[in-house]
């Protein structure tokens, strides 16, 4: 009897176990669905603001007109997308673009209302402003300034600032437009005048920030000179004093420019960035300092090896200093305190120490001691400077300068800058073209001088000239964001 129960139980368990192995074939049928492919005429689109974007969407189906599709066109940045905007909900896109210049993805989602299946296609959209790239020209007329731009295709946009700011003009003497790219590729444009500095929108030049907003505590003397930004380190020069900040702080931190370092000093407005701070030159103590942007402290330069000259006690008047090559070499040009001898010192910087490399005493460089416009080559050991109505090229190792271009008599050279494309270093003009602004016979002009491999101007002359400007105070090349 017990065996019968055991067998019965075993049978019962076996049935249950095997039952779980039974394949459920179901009582339904499979049917083919419509396969939809979305197509556009191309995969990349450009929009020059202000403008609309129109894209026709072609639909290919495996079953003719089988799908009942709804559409959604969504635009979002190619970088970490913090925003998205639905541009249209019809098959063919037609939308006015209000986004800031930059790179975007545009994805169209097509959903079959009958089956719930969704199809999508993504294209790339480049939004650019007419003011995205080109030479900014600060012009002065009737005691006020405005900004024009020479575009890469040689179109001149006039009065950009006043157009975007309800007719407001910039103060007389506006003389500097530092263009900044931060470590996060953020782009900022500042406009400096003798007693004011503002920030404008990099896209349309609308004013967005006044001088006091830059600081925790506004300086008593308002005399802005320069604004530098490299990696996490930013510094502003105001009345010879440094106001700095580090961007290496937690996200969303309120971050403004600090008080200047204590002490008696007056810093020269030239940029030497070392990777973890700036080297600056004190025109009173006639020596270099290292700046820590986070603490806002100045410390002496740490020198390695046998010094060829003493960075901490130069004892000369600085004319100009600039990074010469990407390897960290810098050139600094001095005249002695009697204004009768010229010197070029070469040094290598690094984040924590500096090596003095070469010194060239007794430069034969006519007009250099009184020059105020300088451009350093980033490719050769050369310095370009303006004196009178001529552009000179100083061959540093040869210690000799000579004019390489002379404008007509009476020409005033107002500004001179190297073409530096902060967005695209492969731009063929990058570090290979010098722009010069002049004032001739009552009008401002801008010349382009491409550089030959020797460092001279190609064919010893300019390649383009743009005329019809007012008195030019400043030119700066603005790169794309």
């Amino acid at each position: 009897m017990t065996k019968q129960y055991l067998y019965g139980l075993l049978f019962f368990v076996t049935v249950i176990v095997l039952g779980s192995c039974y394949k459920d074939k179901g009582n339904y049928d499979y049917t083919d669905t419509d396969e939809v492919v979305l197509k556009t005429i191309r995969d990349t689109f450009n929009v020059v603001l202000p403008d609309s974007l129109k894209i026709n969407l072609t639909i290919e189906e495996s079953m003719a007109n089988a799908a009942d599709l709804s559409f959604q066109w969504v635009l979002y940045p190619t970088a970490t997308p913090l925003t998205r905007r639905t541009l249209d909900t019809t098959q063919n896109l037609k939308a006015f673009i209000t986004e800031l210049p930059g790179s975007y993805y545009l994805t169209v989602y097509a959903k079959d209302r009958k089956t719930g299946l969704e199809y999508q296609k993504r294209v790339y959209v480049s939004v650019i402003s007419p003011y995205s790239e080109g030479w900014l020209v600060v012009e002065e007329k009737n005691g006020a300034c405005d900004i024009s731009m020479i575009s890469p295709i040689d179109t001149i946009f006039r009065n950009i600032y006043s157009t975007q700011n309800n007719g407001e003009l910039l103060p007389a003497g506006t003389n500097r437009i530092p263009e900044i790219r931060t470590y996060s590729t953020d782009q900022r444009v500042f406009i400096i005048s003798p007693a004011d500095m503002i920030q404008v929108n990099y896209s349309n030049f609308a004013k967005i920030m006044d001088f006091p907003e830059f600081f925790w505590e506004t300086p008593a003397v308002v005399k802005p000179q320069e604004y530098f930004a490299n990696s996490y380190d930013e510094m502003m020069l105001n009345n010879g004093k440094i106001h700095s900040r580090s961007l290496n702080v937690p996200p969303n931190s309120v971050n403004k420019l600090n008080l200047p370092p204590e002490g008696k000093y007056y810093i020269a407005p030239y940029e030497i960035y070392t990777g973890s701070g700036y080297e600056v030159y004190d025109t009173i103590g006639q020596k270099f300092y290292m700046l820590n942007t986070a603490s806002g402290n100045l410390t002496p330069i740490t020198i390695t090896g046998t010094p060829i000259f003493n960075m901490n006690n130069i004892g000369k008047k600085l004319l100009y200093t600039e990074v010469n090559t990407s390897g960290g070499q810098c050139n600094a040009f001095f005249k002695n305190n009697n204004d009768d001898s010229l010197f070029a010192f070469v040094y290598n910087y690094s984040s924590s120490q500096t090596t003095t490399k070469e010194r060239y005493d007794g430069l034969n460089a006519p007009g250099l001691k009184d020059a105020r416009l300088f451009v350093g080559s980033r490719l050769l050991q050369l310095l370009y400077y303006a004196s009178g109505n001529s552009i000179y090229k100083l061959d540093i190792p040869a210690k000799t300068a000579a004019p390489i271009y002379t404008f007509p008599a009476g020409t005033e050279i107002r500004a001179m800058k190297m073409y530096r494309n902060l967005k695209n270093s492969k731009d063929p003009n990058h570090n290979n073209l010098i722009a010069v602004a002049t004032h001739e016979n009552g009008q401002g002009k801008v010349y382009y001088f491409p550089l030959a491999t020797t460092g001279n101007f190609t064919n010893n002359t300019y390649s383009k000239v743009f005329t019809g400007f007012n008195k030019i105070n400043e030119i700066t090349f603005k790169s794309q964001k």
Binding site: M1, T2, Y5, L6, L9, W216, E217, R245, S246, V249, P250, S253, V254, N255, K256, N258, L259, E262, A294, S295, G296, N297
Partner: protein
């Protein structure tokens, strides 16, 4: 054998029923069925979670009375009516005199899970020379029993207790985050230095969270501003400022 077989049979039937009944039983979430309780709530991010030091010294001279709020949380569900909480002073662990404080009635409003103990503190002259202590304790009321006796906070959860210490004084009291945060910018603590920092920055607290947080760049600014102020003060006085222990006041570079 028959008896054995029956036993096996009943055993299998019982087992089968047991399995079947268990499988069919709906698992209902358990609810709080104990008595309603309440406790001092320790938020991990609150620097005053374990105790509060209230100092009139960092307040306006005109202030003679203020209210210290200490957070409470209930155990159980919210009620449809206002409930009272009994807060009592542990006499043998307290030095505050009755005229130096008042405990306002503590109510958990209908529908609420939290409330605050409201401790009214009075600016008495004696507080300028020494601080006084109050150890508050949750007592039994008609609506609540004392809750969590002592539970530490963690990075993911708060803690609780039924006792909460409060110190009251009119002496500058070291901020709770001085050693962990402020010292990086202001250096070692002293009462004289803290007073200087308050005078220069206009702030008594330097918390990185809450309603009025400070940022690291702002602390760098405060450091430099205090350092400049001290330099000017020392120059003007012709002597370097010293703290209550006779040490010269300095700020880090």
């Amino acid at each position: 054998m028959n008896t054995m077989a029956k036993k096996i049979k009943y055993l299998y039937i019982l087992l089968l029923f047991g399995v079947a009944i268990t499988a069919c039983k709906k698992s209902n979430p358990t609810s709080y069925t104990q008595a309603d309780r309440i406790y001092f709530y320790k938020d991990n991010y609150n620097p005053d979670k374990d105790s509060i030091v209230y100092s009139f010294a960092i307040k306006s001279n005109a202030l003679v009375q203020d209210t210290v709020k200490i957070p409470l949380r209930i155990m159980g569900v919210a009620a449809g009516f206002d409930r009272t909480v009994t807060i009592q002073v542990v006499a043998d662990s307290s030095t505050a005199l009755p005229q130096q404080y008042d405990l306002l009635p503590t109510i958990v409003k209908a529908g609420d899970y939290t409330t605050n103990v409201q401790l009214l503190v009075n600016r008495a002259p004696a507080l300028k020379t020494a601080d006084v202590r109050l150890l508050l304790e949750i007592g039994t009321s008609d609506d609540f029993l004392p809750g969590v006796y002592n539970s530490a906070t963690s990075t993911t959860s708060g803690g609780g207790s039924v006792r909460f210490p409060v110190r009251i004084n009119d002496i500058l009291t070291k901020p709770s985050n001085w050693d962990g945060f402020c010292a990086t910018y202001f250096g070692a603590y002293s009462q004289v230095k803290y007073k200087l920092v308050i005078d220069v920055t206009g702030r008594t607290e330097f918390l990185t969270t809450g309603d009025d947080p400070v940022s690291i760049p702002q602390m760098n600014f405060f450091k430099k501003k205090c350092r400049n102020y001290l330099t000017d003060l020392n120059t003007a006085n012709g002597i370097n400022l010293k703290d209550e222990n006779g040490n010269e006041i300095t700020f880090p570079n």
